[in-house]
Amino acid sequence: MSRLLQTPFLPSVSLPTKTRSSVPGFRVKPRIIPIQAKIREIFMPALSSTMTEGKIVSWVKSEGDKLNKGESVVVVESDKADMDVETFYDGYLAAIMVEEGGVAPVGSAIALLAETEDEIADAKAKASGGGGVSQAPTSSPPTAAIEAPVAVEKKIAAAPVSVKAVAASAVHPASEGGKRIVASPYAKKLAKELKVELAGLVGSGPMGRIVAKDVEAVAAGGGVQAAVAVKEVVAAPGVELGSVVPFTTMQGAVSRNMVESLTVPTFRVGYTITTDALDALYKKIKSKGVTMTALLAKATALALAKHPVVNSSCRDGNSFVYNSSINVAVAVAIDGGLITPVLQNADKVDIYSLSRKWKELVDKARAKQLQPQEYNTGTFTLSNLGMFGVDRFDAILPPGTGAIMAVGASQPSVVATKDGRIGMKNQMQVNVTADHRVIYGSDLAQFLQTLASIIEDPKDLTF
């Protein structure tokens, strides 16, 4: 895979371009490997030794233009200068993935180059489906194996959008019953930047117009996780006492979310879970790269699968959605704020993949490179402060989700057992905050009971 996606900007070994003709049957799905042999990705080049990302100054060529080897295609602004970037291949500029003014990290795809005119459409489909940066798992070997996760991934990306559309109720009076989107210029710009779908969004501006803050609210909507991933958070090294500090974008988003959460009637149910078996399992498979976070997420997801109502969400107070997938968001403190990377389909993905995914997400979060669908698609949130020795706390419910679970530290405790003996057991306290409009006490109680039984007998976690 990675070999096939060699950047056209590097003189690379000749590509196995003949594969396509040998497997014509595979052309049905545009995203499978053989096509990519003919559709090359144009990568953000490293123009200087210190360059980590580049800004697209301008596209010299437009989509559909024929490119000849050696021609300038794009002007890139590095940390040092503006430079023309040439193509090393003949072909057609099929799809521009990073628009003028956009910034992309070195090595990420900024456009697709099709070998023939016929393939432009394929490349376009690929570009629109895959988003800015190709995230195809590089290690998975055969074609068929790749196809499945890709399909899943696509579905997930589409899911939250449709949910939002459902949530919309008010429309701009002049927008012909919601058929047309009336959004201010800045709202549109932000929506594009934050990858928020405007269709069906509730506008709070004059006459129901969608304004910037509506878009920001949606972008931050999946949880506390704001749209900030792309924004630069400038953290001052020291804190100046007595100074008035305006909110950063992330802090602003968190603040809005927290205030919004006050409109949701929540309640809390706690539970103490014995973790001896889980700890033993963790010890055993830790060497395989499994993390405790992944284990907890997995256990939670399996419990959620049995109690779909806890995985539901109510947005308008009139109806609620049984979310189709179980996406466990896990709160992570990062420099300058808080973000909740999402483990999608945590109930279905095996523990090892889940652990790898988690590591990848955390790295991306630290580098502020999370894509919106990687932080705003959570259906249930985990917040763990156990590593600080916190034994119990409660969490605020992120708007748009049904429940959040606060996890305390697992600590050795003296426990009296049923048979009248006293023993030491590792126990942790969990505390779930839920939206009482849709989730009731008994729902949570049953969910927690299931969770406890999974954690206390964790054989299901590893399949």
């Binding site: 201010s184 210029p185 006459m207 008035v244």
Partner: protein
């Protein structure tokens, strides 16, 4: 003052009147700064100039005589206007064009009257360049103060910047008033008769103004200017659907304003409105924003002035119908495809600014009395601004300058045309080189240009068989720009590599409007690159951006050897 001008003319030297006046007394040094047209004359004190005029009355006559001798072609006889004419020159319209012409006419010793039906200063001073610069001065500062990143890079901390709308509006209004008074006073001080009333042409050399005042003049200049052009289908109510006339009063700052037209006017207003917190939607009939600018400049300008701001745009569309906001409904804008005329979209915004250009203000001028037919309202003229009648022949003694002739609708172009006409009527043939007239758009950063754009130059080169080269430099390479943290911008020069002629210069960057004059003067004077590149620029200054261009140009011919060494001796 009059005499000062007359004296200087008798010297035949335009540029150094000091030499004559210097001997008379140091008090004369002030007027020399007033030599060129435009609005800079406001700088001097009028009381002294009145005294000055009186003091010099005695020496006026001899100087006048010397002028008459050299300009014997003049039919005026012995200096005083013949009985048959009330004036040597009547100018209809006291805008910047008329004002420039009037001052130059006085300098040439012509008895001059200027007719104004509205307020002195015209569009530029009252409803154009001047108040808009006041608003842009505010927007520039707002932009800077709001740019946290920019401030931080200076090590400055500013808490939230805000503004008082009325205060901003007052600044613009006060500036216009001040400049208008300066303009009026400067003409009064020089002895120009300011006649109030609507002026029209009654016949050859005859003008009516006000109710029924009829005066005659040897020559007449029409300088009636223009008004905002409002395409049909657009209903202007002055509140929510406005033109630049209303916008400059800044009676409101709408949340969302659509600007129809992305030329100079639209761009400058987008700069003002976005700095004050509005969101802007451009509606442009052509396929590209900022038509009329050099394509490369407009591309870069779009990157800086449009894309990062709260602006979106629709190109290739006409606003076929705009209805002002009423009964709680927003301003409705119907867009149709510019080519197919099919309905494309409807916008609902809080306000719409019509910046689709300007239409000549020539109605009721009595042009039919001299058999002149306007073309889309413009008065046809030849390259000497002489009015052409319906039969294609020149109307004697009638000239038209400025927006009313539509050649180049810029205040300073009108003024330059006025001066050119005065030169002609006072016996010296003069043809204005319009390609040497610079233009500027006062956005942040500014855009300026002179001469041809790159495509125009290439086309001309192809037609006339010469090679065209282009050099570019970035503001990022300029020390002063970097010191100001304003490295964004480029300058480009289009030139002939064979002889070093400058064909065009385009600048987008900090203070571009001030920088362009080195290039426009070089074009006007015919200075070649190989010569100007040897000139020295102070370091570190923004002017080095141009120096960089001159030095980077590859010209085949060598510097003309000039014996400048003698003059250089100090």
């Amino acid at each position: 003052m009059q005499s000062a001008m007359a004296l200087s003319f008798s010297q035949t030297s335009f540029t150094r009147p000091n030499h004559v006046l210097g001997s008379t007394g140091s008090v004369f040094s002030t007027p020399t700064s007033l030599r060129f047209c435009g609005l800079r004359r406001e700088a001097f004190g009028y009381s002294t100039s009145n005294q000055l005029a009186l003091r010099c009355e005695r020496i006026r006559i001899p100087s006048r005589k010397s002028f008459q001798v050299s300009a014997s072609a003049s039919s005026n006889g012995n200096g005083a206007p013949p009985k048959s004419f009330d004036y040597d020159l009547i100018i209809i319209g006291a805008g910047v064009g008329g004002h420039g012409a009037a001052l130059h006419a006085v300098e040439k010793g012509l008895k001059t009257a200027i007719i104004e039906g509205d307020v002195v200063g015209g569009t530029c001073v009252n409803r154009g360049c001047v108040p808009s610069k006041a608003l842009l001065a505010v927007s520039g500062r707002m932009r800077e103060l709001q740019n946290e990143h920019h401030m931080k890079s200076f090590g400055l901390q500013v808490s939230a910047a805000g503004y008082d709308r009325q205060g901003v509006a007052d600044h613009a209004n006060n500036l216009a008033t001040k400049i208008r008074n300066n303009l009026t006073n400067s003409m009064k001080a020089l002895g120009v008769d300011i006649l109030t009333g609507f002026g029209s042409v009654l016949g050859p050399q005859k003008v009516k103004y006000g109710k029924d005042n009829i005066i005659t003049a040897k020559d007449i200049i029409i300088a009636t200017g223009s008004v905002p052009f409002v395409p049909k289908g657009i209903e202007v109510d002055g509140k929510t659907v406005i033109t630049s006339d209303h916008a400059l009063k800044l009676e409101s700052v709408p949340d969302w304003i659509a600007i129809v037209g992305s030329g100079y006017i639209g761009l400058e207003f987008s700069d003002v409105y976005t700095a004050l917190g509005s969101e802007v939607t451009f509606i442009e009939a052509l396929d590209q924003l900022m038509p009329g600018f050099d394509p490369e400049i407009s591309k870069l300008a779009q990157r800086v002035l449009i894309n990062p701001r709260k602006i979106d745009y629709h190109t290739g569309v006409f606003a076929s119908k705009i209805t002002p906001a009423k009964d709680g409904k927003p301003v409705l804008i119907e867009l149709i495809d510019a080519k197919t005329k099919e309905p494309k979209d409807t916008l609902e915004v809080d306000a719409a600014l019509i910046a689709t250009g300007r239409a000549p203000f020539t109605n009721g001028l009595g042009l039919e009395n001299v058999n002149v037919v306007t073309q889309r309202g413009f008065i046809p003229v030849d390259e000497r601004m002489r009015v052409i009648d319906g039969n294609g022949t020149l109307v004697p003694n009638l000239y038209c300058i400025g927006d009313a002739n539509g050649k180049l609708m810029l205040a300073h172009a009108a003024s330059a045309q006025g001066i050119s006409v005065v030169e002609q009527v006072s016996g010296r043939d003069h043809v204005l080189n319009h390609l040497s007239i610079p233009a500027a758009c006062f956005t942040h950063p500014e855009i300026s240009m002179v001469g041809l754009t790159e495509p125009q130059a290439k086309e001309k080169g192809e037609k006339e068989g010469f090679k065209v080269s282009v050099v570019k430099t970035s503001f990022k390479a300029n020390t002063k720009a970097l010191a100001e943290n304003e490295g964004e911008g480029i300058a480009k020069m289009i030139y002939r590599p064979d002889n070093g002629e400058i064909l065009g210069v385009h600048i987008f960057g900090l203070h571009a409007a001030d920088l362009i004059h080195e290039a426009s003067n070089a074009i006007a004077l015919g200075t070649r690159i190989q010569d100007i590149k040897l000139a020295v620029h102070a370091h570190p200054t923004l002017s080095e951006v141009l120096d960089e261009l001159f030095k980077a140009a590859k010209v085949e011919s060598h510097a003309t050897t000039r014996t400048v060494s003698e003059k250089v001796v100090v």
